[in-house]
Symmetry: C2
Subunit: 320 residues, 2 copies
């Protein structure tokens, strides 16, 4: 039976790597946010897909979480000299991935096909499925109007206060057909990795039909909290919650996913919130969810898998 | 008075650099073939413009003649790993120029504007004018059909035998308006630099109205032979002539430009051909046209300038 893990970039990719270390390509597949995708300098850039891909290939830059290790920056240095746009950092080796993708998309390949080709060349055996092959573009609403996501996230370093979000194109986007096919087979669980609920997970969930498909899989739907002790390990989740007048707490993350999830994983630092989350009619466990090392990632993946299997046993007490 | 120098890539750019060393930006401007331009990996690549630009900036790779010196190849190495198209070699620093150009063209700039911006950043004070802002694409006819120029030239290393050429789009292409304006002012001479007559110079000359504009400048039109002792220093000129059943001789180059040029520069190795070229009603000089060193380039430029001024004096014997 297959685990379906939904993920955005850096935080989610860490847990995804943990799953990939424990489960075969038949046992886990990854569904990735593409709301962050954008066209830049003639390239098609899929930041979350790329972060997951480099992470699974164990070629991610361990210091930044994004981009590649062993990278050089001669392209960027020269582009700066020309007065080009350098706010989105593209390493010389990383560029090859974006140029390859551009070429294949121009030739008519889908994002799913290109991603499979790149994964193959990077030695990744697991399926990495973009949430959709149709373009969805996250825009961040601020008091000054909408910002394209990467302008908000990278260029403006998340400084503008957010008042909401828009996923342009989502009404016309179809769920990735590979995911649709996988959900017709028995599913061990759906896991929402610890990514930003608003800009990494919601674009996935808001694709028309996605929530029904996930709920209809007949399996536990488990979210792992990206909020730990009122903070996000990385990224603007906690800042966004405050700006949206939502308390930056793990129970608010659980509430955000109400109606979809059946279980929730809280960090040890938030053990006191467990009763409040259980009161939402959710199964819970408390775990060490900070993933500083590779061993932490594998450990959390194993904890979530064990939780999953206990939940399944409770659902079907007579199964062996 | 301004010298107008028409040029393709490597050979012509050497003489262009010689002129740039001797003449101010008011005294010489360069008109460059764009028939070699192509879209590749999402970039807009203008090989002859780039070769001239890097040459004038004295940042060209002295070993290859194309591309930049102090270059790295991490993009290409990674693209090769992905199975991407690597037959056209793009260095990491060189890529920045192509990405900058792509971005500016997408924003609505003309190729002339982008080229001016890039020249400014590279410290080039002279005008580098693409022959046209409209797309012209050279295609090489072979016994197996047409090949896009870069496929013939780089990917297939000029191996296919040519039977002719086509400049797609040329009927709709307008002469660069900066050149049109310059030709309204007094012109010292028009010089056709030693570039391939068929694929570097003919695309320039075949733009509708170009020949009439150049002839109408009231100045000598001088070609410098790219054929020396029956060979081209670099590139397929002599091979093409043989395949087209044209003897690979300097006099055949002069004949190719019949009706446009008024004077011709032969190499010392071809001194015996001087009477035959003069019989075409052309003024001639014999010069050292092999340009191995920077000094050779400056020396040839000075020789051509002196020849130009003698021709002008002969045209107008009463002028001072």
């Amino acid at each position: 039976m297959r685990l379906i893990a939904l993920t955005g970039g850096i935080g989610g990719a860490k847990l995804a790597l943990g799953f990939a270390k424990l489960l075969t390509p038949d046992e886990v597949s990854f569904v990735v946010n593409t709301g962050d995708d954008f066209e830049h300098l003639g390239f098609h850039i899929s930041p979350d897909v790329d972060t997951l891909t480099y992470t699974l290939a164990e070629e991610a830059n361990p210091e930044t979480g994004w981009g590649r290790r062993d990278e050089t920056w001669h392209f960027m240095e020269t582009l700066e000299r020309f007065g080009g746009e350098t706010w989105f950092r593209l390493g010389d080796r990383d560029l090859a991935l974006h140029a390859f993708r551009r070429t294949r998309l121009d030739a008519g390949a889908t994002l799913t096909q290109v991603t499979r080709e790149l994964c193959g060349k990077l030695g990744i055996a697991h399926d990495v499925w973009p949430m959709s092959d149709d373009p969805v573009r996250t825009r961040v609403r601020t008091s000054d109007g909408f910002l394209a996501f990467q302008h908000y996230f990278v260029r403006d370093r998340c400084a503008p206060a957010v008042t909401g979000f828009e996923f342009a194109g989502i009404d016309a986007a179809a769920v990735n057909p590979e995911l649709v096919a996988a959900l017709r087979e028995p599913v061990r669980a759906v896991v929402i990795c610890p990514s930003n609920p608003f800009v990494s997970v919601d674009p996935i969930l808001d694709i028309p039909g996605m929530r029904d498909l996930l709920r209809g899989a007949g399996a536990p739907v488990i979210a792992v909290s990206p909020i730990i002790g009122g903070q996000a390990i990385k990224g603007p989740t906690a800042k966004m919650m405050r700006e949206l007048s939502i308390p930056a707490t793990t129970e608010q993350v659980a509430a955000h996913y109400a109606g979809l999830i059946t279980a929730f994983v809280l960090d040890e630092q938030d053990a006191s919130a467990q009763p409040a989350v259980e009161a939402m009619d959710l199964d819970t466990i408390v775990a060490q969810t900070v993933m500083g090392t590779l061993q932490d990632r594998v450990d959390l993946a194993r904890t979530v898998l064990d939780f999953t299997d206990r939940l399944r046993a409770a659902l079907r007490p007579t199964a062996n």
